[in-house]
């Protein structure tokens, strides 16, 4: 029994959350630093996981999960505390552990007590403790190889997110006086209800799966193969799982909670939602829907692909129509999640590798764009695009970083998202040409909404309100620069990532018994 690395990776932020919450109210700064250090230490552990991880490892009896830990938990129902990672999980754990420090750093002052009396005091400790709690749960749900264990954290995640969204919003300024947003609690409740609804349906499916299989363990399945179940049963269970993940992802038409949540939450929390928490949904589609119910997945593929396609075009079009910066980014994310889901269900190795890369890249790019947008908003105190203009002349660095974030969002070649998006498109195209071609319209629309956003906010004559706007501060530069560097590096040299992901994807492909369509002309290589 070696050192339980995975448990440690998840336990550290959990303990950190408790410690942070325990810091006395007066010592606010101490709490911040504590949270930051914990998140950095977690990042260190995640790096350790990356190092210990061997892409081409195949365990005994074809159990491809690594760094496994397994203890009996609720023996009566065969629920086990069972952890293990494959390439996809490792990539996403790394992404999560990487983003959280930036989120904390970006939200450094978001939870400070307000100077004006107009709004209630918001406990700083709670903010950072909740963020760490979310990190712990997300990491655990990436590690869990026991369906029930996964379900627990998949649901528990909602609680801290609910408080983060409902408790800490933008500090909207109206003629100098701070006013609390009325929409915020609505957004938080909406977020909770949508995800709970999905979760409940999933719970039924989880129990159903136990009835069929007699256990919850993915590792057992990896070793002994799937339990045989009737086609109809498999399809029902698949739908139960998929619904929950589609809400979380979010897939059209279950998306409407995201714009509210991202619009009302502070930028760091919005990043937490779209870049970290939602990834659990898409990840779970790969891990559970495809591996537990391969036949049903293939059965549902056409419908899901069409929905994903709708998400892509629809999200992009709505992003064009937005007047609120953060909602715009939210709809852009919906469009991108459409790409991810499309790549997953295209059932080609390009598509699925692309989708996995896409999860990572979208996490980074959205974080970059959203955080810079957050800095911008915190300066002017308004989320409306119309309130900005000519920022580029006042704060060139801010504008530059914002532009790079936008270019990443429209997946410009040379930046990370391009690789994944193109892989997804190619992977889809080889099996479903029409859908692939329609999806390419998405890249034109992406260019439209990002560039319109940049033009309206950054260029043109300087608005008097923004004329005194300061450029990025050191703390903010520290947040943005590494993200941009990462975007460029992964865009030019994504090989390290693909090396980790490819074997896992190959495994998934074999689980669903799908082969890539072969080109009819075998060109001279």
């Amino acid at each position: 029994m070696s050192f339980p690395l995975l448990t440690a990776t998840a336990a550290l932020p959990a303990l950190g959350a408790i410690a942070t919450a325990a810091v006395p109210a007066a010592r606010r700064t101490a709490a911040k630093w504590l949270a930051l250090l914990v998140s950095l230490a977690t990042l260190g552990l995640a790096v350790a996981v990356l190092v210990r991880f061997d892409p081409d490892y195949v365990g005994p009896k074809g159990n491809f999960y690594q760094l496994t830990e397994s203890h009996s938990w609720i023996a009566d129902f065969g629920v086990r505390y069972e952890l293990g990672v494959d390439g996809i999980g490792v990539a996403l754990i790394a992404l999560t552990a990487l983003l959280i420090p930036f989120v904390i750093l970006a939200g450094w002052h978001d939870a400070d007590p307000l100077e004006t009396r107009s709004s209630r005091w918001r406990p700083t400790q709670g903010f950072f403790a909740l963020i760490l709690a979310v990190e712990a749960m997300v990491i655990l749900s990436f590690e869990a190889t026991d369906v029930f264990l996964f379900y627990i954290f998949f649901e528990a995640m909602l609680i801290p997110m609910y408080f983060l969204i409902g408790g800490f919003g933008d500090r909207a300024h109206k003629d100098g006086e701070e006013v609390a947003s009325t929409q915020r609690s609505y957004a938080a409740v909406k977020f909770l209800l949508y995800n709970l609804a999905g979760g409940l349906i999933m719970l039924a499916a989880v129990i159903g799966f136990y009835v069929v299989a007699g256990h919850f363990s993915l590792q057992t399945i990896a070793e002994d193969g799937l339990p045989d179940m009737a086609t109809s049963t498999e399809r029902w269970l698949f739908l139960g799982f998929f619904f929950a993940f589609a809400v979380k992802a979010p897939l059209w038409p279950l998306h409407t909670w995201l714009p509210n949540a991202m619009g009302e939450a502070t930028a760091p929390v919005a990043v937490l939602i779209t870049a970290v928490v939602d990834k659990v949904g898409t990840f779970a589609m790969l891990r559970f829907c495809l591996q537990l119910f391969p036949e049903a997945s293939k059965w549902a593929t056409p419908v899901i692909l069409v929905l994903a396609l709708i998400s892509i075009i629809y999200g992009a079009l709505l992003a064009v129509g937005q007047r609120d910066i953060k909602r715009l980014v939210a709809y852009a994310s919906i469009s991108h999640f459409g790409f991810i889901i499309m790549g997953i269900f295209a059932m080609t190795s390009q598509g699925q590798s692309g989708a996995t890369l896409y999860m990572v890249n979208h996490g980074i790019s959205t974080a970059a764009l959203m955080l810079v947008a957050g800095f911008l908003i915190s300066r002017r105190g308004s989320r409306l695009i119309a309130d900005y203009g000519g920022v580029q002349k006042v704060a060139p660095v801010l504008a530059g970083t914002f532009l790079i974030g936008s270019l990443a969002t429209l997946s410009l070649p040379g930046l990370a998202p391009f690789v994944s998006e193109f892989l997804v498109l190619v992977g889809t195209f080889t099996r479903y040409p029409v859908i692939g071609i329609i999806a390419t319209f998405g890249i034109v629309l992406a260019a439209l909404y990002t560039l319109v956003l940049y033009q309206r906010t950054m260029t043109g004559p300087v608005k008097p309100e923004v004329s005194a706007m300061p450029d990025l501060r050191v703390r903010e530069l520290v947040v943005v620069t590494p993200l941009i560097a990462l975007l460029i590096f992964l865009g030019v040299f994504p090989k390290p990532l693909t090396d980790i992901v490819n074997p896992a994807v190959k495994q998934t492909m074999s689980d669903v018994q799908k082969k890539d369509p072969q080109p009819e002309v075998e060109a001279a290589k």
């Binding site: 709505l318 390009q350 070649p413 195209f429 950054m458 043109g460 040299f493 490819n502 369509p517 060109a523």
Partner: protein, 648 residues
């Protein structure tokens, strides 16, 4: 020697990185760094060129494999370069003209406090463009392809405080994106059918696939070319792109970037050879754009927009030639190079004129400038003679060849295309003469004209430093600007002769593109003579209209065609009505739908649930007796159940 290839790209890329991340402390030396690095890549290109000349015609191609870019099951994209004669030609053109324009910009942008960033963008452009022509597979080419798009976006919108500039930049990028869509679909098709998208394998595999598939790929590539090279129907962005600083217009929107489409088609020649329909489409697009651009060029009073129109039509020539297949490839590239020289020269000339005239761009407020800026006059004049195809100058050789090739296509197509090309030549001569006369001859209309005209709000910092917006004082530009113009003038005078005489250029490119000698229905001599003839006619017309009579300062209303041409033949209006308006309506209605329908369904279910529970609540009226009734009924039901059980 191969290892040098990467340096071609790396040098300017390094420059861009340094300049853009360097911050203000580099403002003093920024432009020098940029220029030196651009020149460096030219020098490397020259070295490689010399080395290439040393080898035999067949083993001149060299490749460099850097690293594996995106390795996924069956999908192998590498970062690898391929340098053959075709790429070499472009490398020299790009880095050469590019360096010259760097030098020119030192003077031109002197008064702009963001000059450092300007040079950073220029370097970025060079890097992307070189990557485009050096890539050995379509995906890497795509990177360069969008990279130049980005650079052009940044440079067109360089004066971002001008809303017009920002809009033009966005427009350019979007229209290009439509073309890029074509390119990416083409790549997907290649991957789906050939399992690869590297030049070599794909072009070999063309022999084994059906003509239909080749046609599909060809049309997608054509769409891409249209976007990048401003061909109908995606040409609308080029005119607005003139919002950028003039050096940008010269480098990107005249000499290099806009010709990328031609490169793409010539590079994919094997595909087009296998798909006659696609070729026909290419020629048609080329011919139409040729006339379109020429007509627009006749109507514009803005000197840069007039030149932009001519660029469009000249690229139309190239596309037309490229569409003709092996007969035309070489001439397309040849015209591309010569055009690179004289059009860049013309733009630099225009820039120098504007520099001397407080950035006035309306030719109706010029006139008689030849005594004030002699150097500009001479160089501009030589470029003018070159472009109208004055015998002996470079334009003459390249354009004449294309017209020949067009006739050589044979059949009615041949006649039509040839005729169009001839007509184009005539119109070219007409509008260029018009520009020439309005600018450098005639009375000095600027003396009374207050500048800048309200139509063109001159908010360039350069203009502000010129101080009072009173009567301009035309003056010759500094040497840093004139020298590049002189060099380019040399090029535009002698390049054509150097290439054309003895088919040097054909022998140079033949190994790559292949070449077939066409047989025009009429003798080459006839074609040449007629070309000269129509040229003379065009000049004569223009002289009759603008040389004899004085030019009105305020543009006359003009005929219907003229007014349409002034509005880019209503292309923008069409786009606005169909795309922009329609798009706005679509998005607005969608936002509404999302809020009411998609969201409403969910909220509706929630509300109905509430109502239902409200009704159920009524049953709980709190009266013990009604509870007793239900209990009693329950008991009865139980008994009934047991009886039934015993019955069955």
């Amino acid at each position: 020697m191969e290892n040098l290839i990467a340096l071609l790209v790396v040098a300017p890329l390094l420059g861009a990185a340094v300049l853009l991340c360097g911050g203000r402390r580099l403002d003093a030396v920024g432009h020098w760094i940029g220029t030196v690095l651009a020149a460096a890549s030219f020098v490397i290109g020259a070295i490689l060129f010399a080395d290439m000349l040393g080898k035999g015609a067949e083993e001149r191609e060299m490749t460099q494999h850097l690293f594996s870019w995106v390795p996924v099951e069956g999908f192998q994209a590498d970062v690898a370069f391929q340098l053959d004669q075709l790429s070499m030609t472009f490398v020299l053109l790009i880095s050469g003209v590019g360096s010259l324009i760097h030098v020119y910009s030192i003077g031109y942008m002197e008064h702009d406090e963001r000059r450092r960033r300007f040079f950073g963008y220029l370097n970025l452009f060079l890097a992307a463009m070189l990557l485009l022509v050096l890539a050995d597979n379509y995906l890497l080419l795509y990177v360069g392809w969008e990279g130049v798009g980005l650079a052009s976006y940044l440079l067109i919108g360089f004066w971002q405080h001008k809303p017009s500039a920002a809009t033009a930049a966005k427009k350019a990028f979007l229209v290009n994106r439509v073309g890029d869509m074509g390119l990416s679909i083409a790549i997907m098709l290649m991957f789906a059918w050939f399992g690869t998208f590297a030049f070599g394998p794909v072009l070999e595999a063309t022999g084994e696939t059906s003509e239909g598939k080749l046609t599909a790929i060809g049309l997608m590539l054509l769409l891409a070319a249209c976007g990048k090279s401003a061909q109908v129907p995606l040409q609308s962005w080029l005119g607005d792109a003139m919002e950028g600083p003039t050096p940008v217009s010269a480098l990107i929107h005249a000499a290099t970037m806009v010709t990328a489409g031609v490169y793409l088609i010539v590079r994919s020649g094997a595909i087009f050879n296998g798909a006659p329909d696609a070729q026909l489409a290419v020629t048609v697009v080329g011919a139409v754009t040729l006339l379109f651009g020429a007509i627009v060029g006749c109507a514009k009073d803005d000197i840069k927009k007039a030149l932009a129109g001519s660029t469009m039509s000249q690229i139309g020539y190239m596309i037309l030639a490229a569409g003709l297949g092996p007969i035309g490839y070489v001439f397309a590239i040849m015209h591309l190079v010569t055009h690179g020289f004289f059009k860049a020269g013309l733009f630099l000339g225009a820039g120098s004129v504007m520099h001397g005239m407080n950035d006035e761009v309306d030719m109706r407020k010029y006139g008689g400038l030849r005594k004030y800026m002699p150097v500009t006059f001479v160089t501009f004049g030589l470029g003018y003679l070159a472009i109208i195809g004055f015998p002996g100058l470079s334009g003459f050789f390249s354009k004449d060849k294309i017209i020949e090739a067009a006739f050589a296509k044979g059949g009615t197509e041949g006649w039509i295309l040839g005729g169009v090309a001839l007509l184009g030549a005539a119109i070219t001569a007409y509008y260029m003469t018009r520009v020439m006369l309005m600018t450098f001859f005639g009375e000095e209309r600027w003396r009374h004209a207050p500048t800048p005209s309200p139509a063109e709000p001159s908010v360039e910092p350069a203009a502000e430093t010129h101080g009072e917006h009173a009567e301009p004082h035309p003056h010759e530009s500094p040497s840093s600007m004139t020298i590049p113009m002189i060099v380019l003038a040399f090029g535009s005078v002698f390049a054509g002769a150097f290439f054309g005489i003895g088919d040097r250029f054909i022998h140079w490119l033949e190994p790559v593109t292949g070449h077939a000698h066409g047989h025009p229905p009429v003798s080459a001599l006839t074609v040449t003579l007629s070309t000269v003839a129509v040229m003379v006619i065009g000049v004569g017309l223009a002289y009759a209209q603008y040389g004899r009579r004085p030019v009105p300062v305020v543009a006359p209303r003009g005929s219907l065609l003229t007014r349409a041409a002034r509005r880019d033949l209503l292309q923008d209006d069409f786009n606005h009505v169909v795309l922009v308006r329609g798009g706005e309506h679509l998005t607005r209605s969608l936002v509404y739908v999302d809020h009411t329908l998609v969201d409403g369904v969910v909220n509706g279910t929630a509300a109905s649930m509430g109502g239902l529970s409200g009704r159920l609540r009524r049953l709980q009226n709190g009266f013990a007796r009604s509870y007793a009734v239900s209990m009693f009924g329950g008991a009865a039901v139980l008994i009934a159940a047991t009886l039934l059980m015993r019955a069955v």
